[in-house]
Structures are given as structure tokens and as C-alpha cells.
Symmetry: C2
Subunit: 220 residues, 2 copies
DNA sequence: GCACTGGATAATGTATACTTTAACGTATAC
DNA sequence: GTATACGTTAAAGTATACATTATCCAGTGC
């Protein structure tokens, strides 16, 4: 069976390099350089770069290199605007879908994991569980295209959150909000699910952008 | 100066072939076939196909060919859900942006063109002006990422609308709705701009999906 | 008749060679 | 000293050659 192709590996590797910060935001990288680095020819690099460009992670600029796009505070606002609307829509749709408690088990698990992480002050674990919750929420909304868009937006947010995770107050509110969204979905109340989640994301955006701006974290 | 590359031309050509229906939804096309057809090598075809895949217009399936993705009625609902939320958000943001009447001139022009097209019953012209209005609206919302997403979604809608344009009743309501959105933006009333546009798109979705389903137009 | 094996085939995945061209530096004219 | 023209160079764009491998079909065994 065909294992992952060189393009696939280049994609993962480049994502890894970007998220880990080894490829700094704003930095340019020639195709040849990356090809050498990943031990492949230019072809898979070019194809991977094209896909990353479509995801907004890099920008290919002829003769200047493949650029890791920096994300400003304003960009983050734009991204959150999209994320907020689409996730809230997913929440509403999930509430309309008449899920049983069993269907919502994964959501409940994510919430529990967040609580656990909070009591042990394990912020990375909290972030992971938080991602899990949002991912599940969108999945329950049953709109594959929406899921894809949201996941691209969430990648960007993740980059910024990594830089600010340890500056934040304990995210107690988030857990409460998630619990309320879960309740609304379980009770099949789309409007409440939508509104609660919307307010939650809006708040999260404010918190994040404020941190970015006060700490002068531009071009993440 | 560097004219458009082969990749650029392949992209336009393939889009043209898809939108014109020469490449039927659901049909598969080998890289070599398309390369011969467009008089280029496989390389630009592969790169173009990757970008079209990112836009959801084709699906590249190893050894089975590049497939023009068919769009079902349910797909169209999903697409409209996204479009509705994001365009409405753009409308709200546009209303918050304190634009002068001059800034809104292009919107007004689009509305006038729609009216003209309606009185002469020139439906293609109406569709074009309609696109223009929505495009302008989103531009005024000042969120580049949102603009990109919306434009991808609108491509899909365009495919379906082309098939149903002449089945519809005269789109008088649309013109009224657009006028109201324009008004709300001019009066800097984000909530009304949002809600009016939201209702408008929702209605459009219902109309379109109903046509698709009654006429059994699956896999457009 | 059916399932399985194995090889032929053809399409993709990848590397590489080649072409084109933008960017940079140098030299020259003024 | 500045600006323009020109040549060099290196990077991307493209074609192509090659390697890999899924698919199909014929043949075999049962």
C-alpha cells in the first residue's frame, strides 16, 4: 500500500516547522533550500507550498521565496470574526440535529478534560481539550465545508495562542461557556447554542487581541 | 514583463471549462488528457489542479483522474449557510465602517444595474449586477480572508444558478432587499444590515434549493 | 463458474534537465 | 554624483525522463 507521498510528508514537515517557530513568520525560503532541508526535490516542495498557500500559512512569491505569512492583531480579529460566525452556526445546526446524549458524549468528554486540566493547571492539556471541544462542535454541525474553513482558521489562532497561553488568566469562563453550549445543544435550543457560543468566541477574541497588542506581538 | 504563467492559463482555462459545462460534474480527466488539451506539460496541470482542489471545484484522485466535483442540493444548502453568515457579517462590518455616500457609489451602481436589467428582463445582466453587488458588499466589509472564502462559495453557487436562472420568477425581491441593505449601511445600522441581508440570502437559498430538488438537478 | 495469482499496462509521483526571466551589480554617459 | 543601460546570475517556470504502483485482465486451480 502506498504510504504517504513526499508531498504529504513535506506538508506535515513544513506545518511542523511553521507551528514550532523554526520557520519564523515573515521569513522567506527558497524552494531549493527547503528541498535540500527535507531531502526531496523541488517538485514536492512546490506542490506542498501551493497547498499551504491555499491555507493561508505561506505565500509563494516568485523569485523572493516561500514566505511564512505573519499574522497581525488585525488579522487575528478578521480570523476570529470568521471563526465566531461559523462555529456559532455549527452550534445552532448541532442543536437542530436532535442528537442523543450518546452522540454528545465526545463533547462531554472534552469538557471534562478541560475541567481536569484546569484543576491541575495544565495549560497545554487545557488547550488541547479546548481544541477537541471546538472540533467536535463543528463536526456535529454536519457541514464538511464549514469544518474545513474553520480548521484553517483555527490553525492561525493556534499560532497566536501558543504565544499567549501562559500570559492569560485561568480560562474558567471558557469552561462555563462550553458547558452552556453543550446544554443548549442537548436541549435542542439552536438560538441559545448560537448566542452563547458567539459571545464566548467574541470574548476569547478580545482577550487574545488585547494580549497581542499590549505585548506588541505583531507578526506572529 | 512576465505574462501569465502556464499555471495561470491552465487555471482560467479549467475554470472556464468547468463553468461552461464542457467538463461535466462527476467526470474524470487524466492529467495527460488535460495537458494535451491545453497544450502544456503535466506540471502546470498538476499545479492548477491542486489549486482548484483547494477551491473545492475538483478532486484529484490518484490514478482515477481529476474529477469535477458534483454539487448536490444538500451541498448547496451547506454552501449557502456559510455564504449567508459571512456576507451578513460583512454587511454589518460595512455598516460600522462609517462609509461616505461616495464610498458606497459602487454599491448604488450595482443596484441601479440590477433595476435596469430587471426592466429589460435581461437575466444574465441581472445576475452579473447581482454578483457585483455582493462582491462590493464583501469588499466594504474589509476582511480579505472573508472575501476569499465568500468568493469560493460564490463560485459554487454560480454553477447552480446558471442552471436555474431561467426557471425563476423575476427576482424583484432581491432588488428590494439589496436596496434595504444599502440603506442600512448608509445609515450605519449594522444590525439591520446584517439581518436584512441574512434574510435575503436565506430566501435565495430556499428558492434555489427548491428548484434544484423539484427539477431533480442533482450533481451540478 | 468462481476466487486467486501474477504479470502487463498505464497513470501518477518524483527527480532532473532545461528555459525563461527578474533581480542585482557594474560600467558608462551625462 | 546620479541615473540609465547592460550583462550576470540565480531562482522560478516548464518539460521530460524515470521510478513507482494501482488497476485490469488473463490464466490457473479448484
Amino acid at each position: 500500500m502506498g504510504g504517504p507521498s513526499h508531498v504529504d510528508r513535506a506538508l506535515s514537515a513544513l506545518r511542523q516547522l511553521i507551528f514550532s517557530g523554526e520557520l519564523l513568520p515573515g521569513s522567506d525560503h527558497l524552494e531549493t533550500e527547503l528541498a535540500t532541508r527535507l531531502n526531496v526535490s523541488r517538485t514536492p516542495i512546490r506542490e506542498a507550498a501551493l497547498q499551504l498557500q491555499a491555507q493561508g500559512l505561506v505565500e509563494v512569491r516568485p523569485r523572493r521565496g516561500i514566505r511564512v505569512v505573519p499574522v497581525s492583531a488585525q488579522d487575528m480579529r478578521d480570523i476570529y470574526d470568521i471563526l465566531t460566525e461559523l462555529e456559532s452556526l455549527a452550534a445552532a445546526r448541532a442543536a437542530q440535529a436532535c442528537y442523543s446524549k450518546q452522540d454528545l458524549a465526545t463533547l462531554a468528554t472534552a469538557i471534562r478534560d478541560m475541567d481536569d486540566a484546569l484543576t491541575t493547571s495544565d495549560l497545554p492539556a487545557w488547550a488541547k481539550a479546548d481544541d477537541q471541544f471546538h472540533h467536535e462542535l463543528v463536526r456535529l454541525g454536519r457541514n464538511a465545508r464549514l469544518g474545513q474553513i474553520v480548521s484553517v482558521m483555527r490553525d492561525q489562532v493556534r499560532r497566536a495562542r501558543a504565544a499567549t497561553l501562559f500570559m492569560r488568566p485561568k480560562p474558567t469562563q471558557s469552561n462555563t461557556a462550553h458547558r452552556n453550549v453543550y446544554q443548549a445543544i442537548a436541549e435542542r435550543d439552536p438560538v441559545r447554542a448560537h448566542d452563547v457560543h458567539h459571545a464566548h468566541r467574541r470574548q476569547a477574541c478580545e482577550t487574545l487581541v488585547e494580549l497581542l497588542e499590549t505585548h506588541r506581538l505583531h507578526g506572529l
